[in-house]
Each structure stands twice: as C-alpha cells, then as structure tokens.
C-alpha cells in the first residue's frame, strides 16, 4: 500500500465511527468507498487527509502540499469568482508565479469552466461547483486526490464529466479515493471498499467482489416480494439464496456488480 488507511479505528467520544478499516489507495488507481449515509465514508476520507486523528491504526498520506481534498460541501469561496478561487489556491500551494496563469487556464479548460471563470462560486450550478472544486484540488498536481461524494445531487451529464475528470487524474498517475453512495459508480473503481456502520463488509476489485458472491442470485417477475432476501431491480425482483437453493419461480441469473454489493450488505447483516 502506497497511501491509505490500515486497520484504522476512529472514535467520537464513546461512539466508534470506524473499526479496523483498511482503505488502500494506489497511484493511477481509483479507490471507491461506497456505503449508505452514516456508514463512515466521510470519516474515512477525513482520517486519510488528516482532518481527524485515528485512535489506532496507520494512515499513509503524502505531505499536505501533495494532497488534494474536496469535502462534501465542495469547499469553494462562494463570494470569489472561479478564477479568484483558483488564484487563492495557487498561491496557498506556492505554485511558481510563472506557472500559475497557464495552470489555472488548463484547469478551467479541463473542467469545462473556461466560460465561467469570472462568475462567483456561489452563482455556479451545483454541478459546476463540484467540477470547480475537483479542479481546485487538482491544481497543484497532487499525488493523492481525496473526493467526498463529488457526484451527490449532480445531474447525470455533470456526473459523467466529473468522472471523466477523476479518471483523467488517475490516468495521470494520481492516487484517487472517492466516497459515494451510488453503487454503480463503484464499478469504475480499481478497488472498492464497501462500508457499513463503520466496518468493511467487502473489499477488493469490482471483479473480485463479483466473483466472491456466495450462494446464488436469481430474478423474478412478481408483484409482491417473492422471498425474504430480495430487492428491486427495475421492474424485477432479485433474490439471493446463501445456500444456492433459489425458491420456486425464481430464475437463476448472473449477478452484476450492483447485485454483488447488495449481497455483501445482506451477508454482512446476517453475520
């Protein structure tokens, strides 16, 4: 592991927020931490960038000037323009004066915000704010990029653009950690950590998580819930049978990644 958390425990008072959580983040890789609200995703990322101190375990991260972080709130100055936000960041990270102009223009180009450079941060749409926030975090070419739910509440087109930005950063050698509530986004990752109530339910590459689905998964077209371990996928129901014995009327299907995540969650509940 180059960067990341190893066996980390975080507590808030008496409450344990993370328990022996390991999140590896490798250069050129995208680690996606996926989980529901309150699962501990933000806590993971905050521990990773040093905003909170774990009670136990090891945190590996580059120096502050080699780390980029986008909090869930985006962390922009609403009363500064896009260009001014970039300018402040560039000076805070001590970018050489000669590099600043070209670098800022490059980021505005990559984020598709060249036309919005003189608009106030607060006047940008939600999607544009997130893109600018990711652009700001990339400005100083970090070794580690940490993004807390960058796509939550963003329209599908902007989401695709954001992921293009994120993939581009990884392709350039940056180690990326992303928290998300969207299971389908985890399929883009090179490593997935499935988090529930501060514990890791499953971790590995999307393929490995898919291969590790225990038992059998089937699908049924029914108006009522066909079995206890079942969930909606579009118009159909999916059913998981830990023992491999699917109920009658349920046809066996090949689970996709989303199914694999749900199964992992169900298996975690039953453990």
């Amino acid at each position: 592991m180059i960067w990341g958390l190893e066996d980390v425990r975080v507590t808030f008072g008496r409450r344990t927020a993370l328990e022996s959580v390991t999140v590896p983040v490798e250069p050129s890789g995208i680690t996606v931490v996926v989980g529901g609200d309150g699962a501990g995703k933000s806590t993971c990322l905050r521990a990773l960038v040093g905003l909170l101190e774990p009670r136990a375990g090891t945190v590996r991260r580059p120096a502050k000037d080699r780390t980029g972080y986008v909090p869930a709130t985006a962390g922009l100055y609403a009363d500064l323009t896009a260009a001014e936000n970039l300018g402040f960041r560039a000076r805070a990270y001590r970018l050489p004066a000669a590099e600043r102009g070209p670098r800022e223009a490059e980021i505005l180009g990559r984020t598709g915000l060249a036309g919005a450079r003189d608009r106030l941060g607060g006047q940008l749409s939600g999607g544009m704010q997130r893109k600018l926030a990711v652009g700001l975090a990339l400005l100083h070419s970090p070794q580690l990029l940490v993004l807390d739910e960058p796509t939550t509440g963003v329209d599908p087109v902007s989401r695709a653009e954001l992921w293009r930005l994120i993939s581009g950063a990884a392709a350039g050698g940056t180690a990326v950690a992303v928290a998300t509530t969207y299971v389908n986004e985890a399929a883009r990752a090179s490593w997935v950590v499935l988090l529930e109530a501060g514990r890791v339910l499953a971790a590995g590459s999307p393929d490995a998580i898919l291969r590790a689905v225990p038992g059998a998964v089937g699908s049924a077209r029914a108006s009522a819930r066909p079995a206890p371990r079942s969930w909606r996928r579009g118009a159909d129901w999916r059913v998981w049978a830990p023992g491999g014995q699917l109920p009658d009327g349920v046809t066996r299907t090949e689970p996709d990644f989303e199914d694999a995540v749900v199964v992992a969650a169900l298996a975690g509940e039953e453990r």
Partner: protein, 359 residues
C-alpha cells in the same frame, strides 16, 4: 397551536445558549449594571499643593479624598497630576486666592466636585476658591464621549466582524479546506486578522477625524502614543473575535456571544458611568475589559496630552490582554485547523513521504 408551542420549547431546550441568554443574562445584567450604573461620585482623588497645603488638606471633606499633600510643590505639579490621571482635583494654595483645578475629562466627578465646592463658602464663611476646569472647560459631553465611542465602535468591528468572518469559513466548509492546505495555523490567523486590522485602523482614523471636525474634540497629545494604545486594543478585540468564532458553530451563535462580550463593555468600561463609582463587586469586571484601558488612553492623549510615561499601566495591561486573548485564540483555532498535528500517526513508505518529497 399547542403542537407549535411544544415544538418551540423542545427546540429551545436543545439551544442552551439561547436559553442562557433569555434567563440567566437578564438577571446577571440587572444585578451587574444595577451596581455599576451610578453617576454619583463619592470619592474624588485630590492633590493639595502650595504653602497652605496642610491646612487646606485638613479642611477638605468628602467627596474629596486627599491623595497627596506637598507644601513645596506649585501649580505645575498640580497640573501634572491631573494630566497623568493621578488626581481629578488639585487644590493650589498660596497666592492671592486658593485655586481648585479640575480634570474636565472626568465629567461626573467634576460635576460632583463643583457642587461640593459651591457649598463650601456658605459653610465656612471664607472666600470661595477660584475653580478652573482644565482640558474640557465647558464640560462638553461629546469631548468625553468621542474618544470612548471610538473604542466602542472598534469593539463592534473587531469582535463581531472578525468572528463572523471566521465562522463563515467553518459554515461553508472552507475552514476544512484551509486545514488540509499547506498553511500554518498562525499564517491563517494572521491572514484572517490583518485585513480587519487595516479596515479597523482606517475606521479609527475616520472616527477621530469626524470627532475633531464635527464635534471639535481636541487632539492634544502624541499621535504615536494613541496609535500604540489603539493597535494593542485592536489586537485584543480581533483576538476576541477569533476566540468567539472557535466557540461558535454558526453565525447566529457568534453574534450571540459577541453581544454578550460587547454589552458589558458599553456599560462597565467607564464610557458612560465612572469606573470609580461602581460597586467594588462589579468594578473588577471593568478591569478585565480592554475598552476600560483604551478609554483611559484615548481620553488622556486626546484631551489632556497625557505622556506615554503616565500611561504605561493601561498600555501594559492591554499588551498583556492582547497576548492572553490572541494566545488563546491561536491555541483553539489551531485545534480546529490541525487535529492531526497532535501526535501524528501518519507515516509514509521510504522514499515518498509525509516529510514532503516533491515528485
């Protein structure tokens, strides 16, 4: 309607600060200010000089409190004592008529003294002393108020605006962003305070200029002394702003706290009521308020040309307050900014590093 009432009380119970403000504060304010709000002066520090000093001193009754008797000294010493704030009244004996000098920057004590002096001849049947009011001969209220108001306005700007500025960063999440940036806590604080310091300094110049231009308040003393006092005072108020911000999660809380700090300064700093008239139980509060010392400096310098040598006490105390308040603010702000700085557990594989290798 009852659903609304129950909900409101439930919310109120969670917001302890507001409850404290609504119940505890009025009680505290009433008690404190009841003892502090006192215009009448029972004790006026008085210096008696000249050949007949001993006899005059023996004849002086309350409210005059003789602090110094010097038969060998003359009018110059008497004036110096008033200028330096060591006495409010000075009795100069010798010559054709006994003279009483009063410090016009001390409105209420002087009014009390005048009243007491007016009764003297009737009681004793001797010639009335000649009364001269120095520094503010017409006892113009605005002359006394403007130097104090300048300080009060700076308290508002310094404390409130600074705290709001910092809390806004917390609320919008940019404080967290600052925390992960390669900035030192003291750079963030200094960078945050400096603009407000400059604006407040411009404000101060403006207030003093308006006071002089519109209200004809004199500026008799040394600008450097005034500037030193003002700079220290501003550092204390801005530090309080940062301190408030570290204790507040949102702008509403910051405003509440700022008002809790500003209100006592309005009433207990000597701006309106003389500090000396306050009951001993509340007077100590005055002595921990920065405005008390700033008013002493600004009135002294502007009206009486008090030299820096006589103001070392308020200036020194402001400096102490500045160190304490700013120090606390920095400690608390740093805790907000860099939790991982305490006993860092982060480490990096050999070659790449937390120590900061640049690829």
């Amino acid at each position: 309607m009852w659903a609304m009432v129950a909900k409101e009380f439930r919310q109120l119970r969670r917001d302890r600060r507001t409850v404290a403000m609504m119940i505890v504060l009025p009680v505290v304010l009433l008690v404190v200010f009841g003892y502090a709000a006192n215009f009448s002066v029972s004790s006026i520090p008085t210096v008696v000089v000249g050949p007949g000093a001993a006899q005059a001193a023996a004849e002086l009754r309350a409210p005059f409190r003789v602090t110094e008797v010097d038969a060998g000294a003359g009018p110059a010493t008497a004036r110096a004592r008033l200028r330096d704030g060591r006495a409010i009244a000075a009795v100069v004996t010798g010559g054709s008529q006994t003279q009483v000098l009063l410090d016009g920057s001390q409105l209420f004590p002087v009014l009390t003294a005048e009243g007491a002096l007016a009764k003297l001849p009737a009681a004793r049947g001797t010639a009335a002393p000649r009364v001269r009011i120095l520094y503010n001969p017409k006892l113009t209220t605005s002359w006394v108020m403007v130097p104090g108001l300048a300080g009060l306005i700076l308290v508002f700007i310094g404390t409130l605006i600074t705290s709001l500025g910092v809390v806004r960063e917390r609320q919008t999440g940019t404080l967290e962003q600052l925390a992960v940036m390669p900035l030192r806590a003291r750079d963030v604080i200094a960078g945050k305070i400096a603009p407000y310091l400059m604006v407040a300094a411009v404000d101060l110049v403006l207030i003093v200029a308006i006071g002089m231009g519109v209200f004809h308040v004199p500026f008799a003393g040394n600008v450097g002394t005034f500037a030193l006092g003002a700079a220290l005072f501003l550092l204390v108020t801005l530090g309080m702003g940062v301190l408030i911000s570290t204790l507040s999660q949102n702008q509403g809380q910051a405003i509440q706290l700022a008002f809790m700090i500003m209100l006592p300064q309005v009433l207990l700093s000597g701006l309106i009521f003389p500090v000396a008239s306050m009951a001993a139980g509340v007077r100590w509060i005055s002595y921990i308020l920065p405005l008390t010392y700033f008013i002493e400096i600004s009135r002294g310098v502007m009206l009486k040309a008090t030299p820096i040598s006589a103001l070392w006490q308020p200036i020194g105390l402001l400096a102490v307050l500045a160190v304490v308040v700013l120090g606390l603010a920095i400690v608390r702000f740093r805790r907000d900014l860099a939790p991982s700085a305490r006993g860092v557990r982060s480490e990096a594989p050999a070659g790449a590093g937390v120590a900061g290798s640049r690829a």
